[in-house]
Point group: C2
Chain length 584, copies 2
């Protein structure tokens, strides 16, 4: 396996072997390591010194379920800190099939220049891409498929990324060619735009697809057995075997709404009156009723057994958007008082097309609604405003810089964000573990850093939430680094041996189960070290004031985890010695 | 002397005696102390937990020249840290005549409510002020003078402050009633707006004017002698005796332009081709030629001997704006490639009227010009855009949040700012001491924290600049705390005995000359402690990347003071033990 270094200023491409000790390093962990070692922590996120890192994991390209997440990372224009965002789709697998663990994009071309990075066996080329300027992700994918083949993977930005807007994500296609798998959070699309890179096209030989060319398996029989055991756990766990395939992530809505933790009306209510119109049951039933191209279950990555994705059909049965997920239903739905699946699907499609994060856009629209720019529930105007982001009108640019900038410009102080990044659809006053995750994660206000709602605890009580969230965060950081989908965690999180057996067999190692937690800690510590040097401190490890000051209906909850509890998160006894900027 | 505490939520007013040890504490030092002791460092700057502190100094109301600066401070919506901004005018003197050292404004009224705080002998009242909504500073001052008397002082905000825009300053009238003395920097007007306070009107009895009712003088004969000696130094120093009265602050332009340090074309050039059309000579000559209401010299405060202010007349001889100063000429002139005094005067007047900081507005307009929103040199459009700030149109709101937000929204990475606040008209690549002042001062990118250009050093060399700037900053912090105009420093900065003699005589003390430096250090340390707790760290003690990366014509200079030199600024050996949040 190798790392490809692409310098956009020199238009040079270098290949580096993956160093021996780093053979398992992928995705989030690899990103944090490159940032800490190579990127000046105080650099401008959209300047030449930042680096965009696109990385797959050590098991991508193997038959292991859920193993080929693709991560995109950089210093974030939203948080100012280390950022990793990952998605499914076929990008991770296909990079691995070319023997590439990661692509590190450095420097900047002359203003206005734009390229496609084309990767194929023995080839790594920068192709001028000014033809693609301004294309939305769906049209872009068609054009790339025409030129480079329908079986390629594309890792691309829409107009939001080209306009360097901080809501911009990086979008990957699934096996159907739908370019809607989003590395959404943290403005990674803006960083990619600042590098003059419209897309990376990955084109492995057709014969390799589904095989394990990417990595030679050290102990094949043992590997097959380990994969079987891992898959067995996925099959035996209700969450991964039944809930996810049946309801997708939308299955969470009923639970969260019952807890009073569903962000509603710009995070001013914890329950949405129309939740039953947009929850997992409603979504599933509508897909079944409409039929057509609709699918209640769908896998975003080759070989994934969990199949939590879906294809949502419009009234005519044609695909309106794929997938429609819980966070979209929350941020573009309840948070905006929009209780209509078709309307939410339309907003989600538009976000995908302009290449924007549904969470940050939904939060920014919620703030704009609070400012009176549009009314709560006004889905038509919301759609128009998403289009203005793609067009980079002045209002589009304001919204396109995310919820914090929107609040600053429009004079709204109730902005649900931490470290400059908006919160997701888990109200931290009602699901108090999320106060810890949002506040303390080096990733900023990002639920993927550690969802706690499935833990069997009293979510309304502040007791024990710090430890709960910290353990989840450590675990997730490890799976994020191994390229595994975080949705395997309900099945294998408590049985680290399963994961370790797969790694040992694949790479000829003798790791112990403690490896997972150790790995997760190392990953988070590197991100934390980068963030500290970038100027993110204890003061940034906090929710905005209004979560402490305003009682959340219906349970009148406030954010009441003490500062002392939050500060204990970084207890050196738990983490051990911290790495430093420049460390390998 | 007492402190007045005004709670805008409860509409309550309390009087507290100034504690014995704090008898000399005023202005900047008092503000830093209140912030560190009372304001949660992570609070939202426009939320109820922030406090607005309006303070005069221990010698305000006495006949000592230049002793009645008025400071306004709070946690800044621009920097997120401790902020103090001061102005001349009659506010400081008149507060002192009422026996008030400071007014601390706490809490917030219901949204939309707006008040005038009326202070007179034995009176402190909140008067509803919804009639004054949206009034510019000039019209507001007329209305306040009608209602409360022409001899009152008003400390007020314009529409920019009402709209909570971070460019908003707090404006004080001079003895002529012109409301253009600006506590401009750091968005103090937005904080005042967030408190629902349109103006503080100070109305001491007419008989007290020019007397020293404010403070009883402990040793009158000694005080008169000390004041005479102090005044003698002002008279004997060329800067205070000749340059300032003759050319005002504009006298600096020729020097700075020759050094290649005059910000031009959004800080991309260090010399302005049309500098001779707008420098101190040109300004003086035009005022003399036009006559009428024009004045080449004018004092902003009663008793000030330096008289560096002016009244700039239009072609018809009527006052166009008062004063027209170096920083306006730089930020609204050369930085925007506007080489016309009448045009700059118009922009300055508009900024005063909407209640905005000329420096932050000029920097934001420079960024907007770089983004192509208007052309460099387009004074007509610049004037329209300043009006849009007052009207809080969307573009006005973007510009009105300052240069950093403007750059973020418009996609410009070359934003001359530190800690979120724009730099003033001293290019830090050419006047390298300003790299240190801008980078390290707890005040953010603020020249008033320590101007180094008058020091007899090679300004193009990085050598010794850290020590130079640090000493100037410490000295300035002391004078800022004593309510003294920083323009006395050229005359008395090297002779601290002069200042100490005045204080000893006035308050019956036996201070030693070292008091000045000790005081300055204490003041800066408190601000630093607040900032650290607010999340401002070493990473924020830096210029933006482009100052290091881009060579500044005509001398091809870059910012090259090493990080190690900058870090030495906070050497504990120099500063001693740091105070903590909550300390008195």
């Amino acid at each position: 396996m190798e790392i490809l270094r692409v310098n956009m200023h020199e238009r040079s491409i270098r290949r580096e072997p993956l160093a021996g000790a780093d053979v398992l390093l992928g995705n989030r962990g690899l990103i944090g390591k490159v940032l800490l070692k190579e990127v000046p922590p105080t650099c401008h996120p959209l300047g030449p010194e930042n680096k965009l890192i696109i990385a797959a994991g050590p098991l991508a390209g193997t038959p292991l379920s859920s193993s080929a997440r693709l991560s995109v990372g950089a210093k974030s224009p939203l948080t100012g800190g280390a950022k990793e965002s990952n998605a499914g789709g076929v990008g991770g697998e296909q990079l691995a099939l070319l023997g590439i663990r990661a692509v590190i994009v450095e420097g900047q071309p002359a203003p206005g220049e734009q390229f496609v990075l084309y990767l194929a066996p023995g080839k790594a080329e920068l192709h001028p891409a000014s033809d693609y300027k301004g294309l939305g992700n769906y049209a872009l994918r068609e054009r790339l498929a025409e030129r480079y083949g329908a079986r390629t993977a594309s890792i691309a930005i829409g107009p939001a990324g080209e306009h360097l807007l901080a809501v911009a994500g990086v979008f990957v296609n699934d096996a159907d060619g739908t370019p809607s798998r989003a590395c959404g959070r943290g403005g990674m699309g803006a960083v990619m735009g600042s590098k003059g890179l419209k897309a990376v096209v990955v084109d492995p030989p057709a014969a390799d697809r589904g095989k394990t060319k990417g990595i030679p398996i050290a102990r094949p029989d043992e590997f097959r057995a380990a994969v079987r055991a891992f898959h067995g756990a996925l099959r035996e766990t209700p969450q991964t075997a039944v809930s996810y395939p049946r309801y997708g992530t939308a299955g969470a809505m009923a639970t969260v709404n019952a807890l009073g933790g569903l962000p509603t009306r710009n995070f001013s209510l914890g329950r949405f009156d129309d939740a039953e119109r947009i929850d997992g049951d409603a979504l599933r039933q509508l897909i079944l009723d409409r039929g057509g191209e609709g699918k209640t279950t769908h896998s975003c990555m080759t070989n994934c057994m969990i199949r939590c994705s879906n294809v949502f059909p419009g009234p005519d049965g044609r695909a309106a958007v794929s997938p429609l997920e819980y966070e979209s239903l929350g941020l573009l739905g309840s948070n905006l008082c929009i209780g209509d699946l078709d309307a939410i699907a339309r907003l989600n499609y538009l976000c995908n097309d302009i290449g924007a994060d549904v969470i940050e856009v939904g939060a920014a629209l919620g703030v704009a609604m609070e400012a009176g720019v549009l009314g709560f529930g006004d889905a038509g105007m919301a759609a128009q405003l998403i289009e203005t982001i793609g067009e980079a009108t002045l209002l589009g640019r304001v919204l396109g810089q995310g919820a914090v900038t929107t609040g600053r410009v429009l004079g709204v102080t109730r902005v649900p964000s931490v470290k400059g990044q908006s919160l997701a659809a888990h109200e931290p006053r009602a699901i108090k573990g999320m106060t810890v995750t949002y506040s303390m994660s080096p990733m900023g206000g990002d639920h993927t850093a550690g969802v706690t709602v499935r833990a069997p605890v009293n979510h309304h009580s502040p007791q024990g939430q710090m430890e709960l969230s910290r353990n989840v965060q450590v675990n997730i950081a490890a799976y994020d680094t191994l390229g595994m989908c975080m949705f395997v965690v309900p099945a294998v999180g408590q049985k680290p041996q399963l994961m370790v057996d797969v790694l040992n067999a694949a790479y000829g190692l003798e790791l112990m189960p403690g490896f997972i937690a150790d790995l997760g800690k190392e990953v988070i510590k590197r991100e934390r070290a980068f963030n500290l040097a970038a100027g993110l401190t204890r003061a940034h490890d906090r929710l905005p004031d209004f979560f402490r000051q305003e009682k959340l209906p219906p349970f009148d909850l406030v954010a009441d985890i003490t500062e002392a509890d939050l500060d204990r998160f970084w207890d050196p006894e738990f983490w051990g010695a911290m790495p430093q900027v420049g460390d390998s």
